[in-house]
């Protein structure tokens, strides 16, 4: 086989490939130069919807096995969902503080609160609450009831409550109180009446 035509053909293909690469590079460079400059993202000011709100926290007291109402002023959003999260976070900050009457670990927190129709509120707590909660029927019920009662007394308008742990359905809080079912808020309020301290 004569290799000369093959060699010439290969050379031609290489030259064409190089020429095409150069052309594409030129076109790309031209496109970049002609494109308008990317606008610098502006810092959008947070709308001034922060409000100061007087809230009632229903705080659990282990020593007497009861809930006590305490008044507190917090800065929160005017939006209902954000308010719910801020109010419950304020309650948990009482529990995670040193010398708390119902101690929870420092990482205990509220992830989200969702108001779902019809009349259902979903409270998503993090797993630190579960891990650091004192195990026991009354101890766990005080935690759950204080969250429900605090929310119901400050943002009424829901009739059923469901708890999630890290966005997932849990069986119990710390081995006792059932989290797998949806409960009527009225039932929790009955419990609160049983354990309310003046």
């Amino acid at each position: 086989m004569n290799s000369r035509p093959f060699f010439v053909l290969t050379c031609c293909l290489c030259v064409i490939a190089l020429a095409m690469s150069f052309y594409v590079w030129q076109v790309r460079r031209q496109a970049v130069e002609e494109s308008p400059p990317t606008p610098t993202p502006e810092v959008v000011a947070t709308p001034s919807n922060a409000i100061r709100k007087q809230v009632t926290l229903w705080v659990a007291h282990d020593d007497i096995g009861a809930l006590k109402a305490e008044s507190l002023s917090i800065v929160t959003s005017s939006e209902r969902q954000r308010q719910a999260e801020d109010i419950l976070r304020a309650l948990l900050s009482v529990y995670t503080a040193k010398g708390s009457p119902h101690s929870l670990p420092s990482g205990a927190g509220i992830k989200n609160v969702f108001f779902a129709d019809p009349g259902l509120v979903v409270i998503d707590v993090n797993s630190e609450i579960v891990g650091g909660q004192t195990s026991g029927v009354l101890a766990e019920e005080l935690t759950v009831a204080s969250l429900v009662q605090t929310l119901a007394s400050n943002l009424p308008g829901f009739s059923r409550v469901k708890f999630l742990v890290d966005g997932k359905e849990g069986n119990t809080l710390a081995g006792h109180v059932d989290l797998s079912n949806v409960y009527d808020v009225a039932q929790y309020l009955d419990f609160v009446k049983q354990v309310s301290a003046p």
Binding site: D62, T134, G136, L138, V177, V182, F191
Partner: protein
């Protein structure tokens, strides 16, 4: 051959009639196998024995709370359950344990066992370091669950017996209060109470001194069991159900 077959039939019929007649006479005289039986048992419904099913909560891989560094709730519950059974038996009340060993049983299995035994009262036993005294819980029923006709949803199986449970709870608390032992009546979202279709309570035992070790102490457990058994014996007297 035909005569002998007919005679045999007559004999058998005669024996059956004699047997029925003799049983009727025994019932009328109020005596079966030498035991004294009220004559009313043949004509009126039988007295249903007040059987209490005691369920020591947790067990196996589910340890429950750690009451002290060396005492898990599951073991305390089992000890208290055994003592309570003895105390009840000593007072003439039938009691059974749902678990008499360190085994894992799910809430659904516990409810299924309780519903199968069909006791007059189901009691789940718990222990806690959070005082003081004894807490008696009835079920807080979830809002989920639709009952279809005669079928009651599993989540709210307790609904048909809840009024009876609350009545027994009130009687029990009243009886314990007479001993001046600290006691409270509450509701709780606690499984398997809501899945049990007979009167059901949960009893949580906690220290009176603020020292969690008290709950693990034999003397304290004995005192608590005696107080509960005394109260349950008065409840049993008031609630002896009549079998339909």
């Amino acid at each position: 051959m035909r005569w002998s077959s007919g005679a045999a039939r007559v004999c058998i019929l005669g024996l059956i009639c004699c047997s029925i007649l003799s049983r009727g006479q025994q019932a009328a005289s109020g005596s079966v196998s030498g035991e004294s039986t009220p004559a009313a048992t043949t004509s009126a419904p039988a007295q249903r024995p007040f059987v209490i099913l005691i369920d020591p909560a947790h067990g196996g891989s589910d340890t429950g709370a750690l009451i002290t560094p060396t005492a898990a709730e599951k073991d305390i519950n089992l000890n208290v359950a055994r003592r309570l059974k003895q105390e009840l038996n000593a007072r003439g009340i039938q009691a059974q344990l749902l678990r008499d060993a360190d085994v894992t049983i799910s809430a659904d299995q516990r409810a299924a066992s309780a519903n199968s035994v069909d006791p007059a009262l189901y009691i789940a036993l718990h222990a806690s370091s959070l005082g003081p005294g004894i807490r008696v819980f009835t079920a807080m029923l979830p809002s989920a669950g639709d009952s279809k006709g005669p079928f009651v949803a599993w989540e709210i199986a307790q609904s048909t017996a809840l009024d009876h449970s609350k009545a027994i709870q009130a009687q029990l608390i009243s009886a314990i209060q007479q001993t001046r032992f600290p006691v409270r009546g509450l509701i709780a979202p606690l499984r398997p109470l809501n899945n049990v279709r007979v009167p059901a309570l949960a009893i949580e035992i906690s220290p009176t001194t603020g020292d969690a070790a008290q709950v693990a102490a034999t003397g304290y457990q004995q005192m608590v069991c005696a107080a509960i058994a005394n109260a349950l014996s008065s409840v049993a007297r008031a609630n002896t159900a009549v079998r339909p």
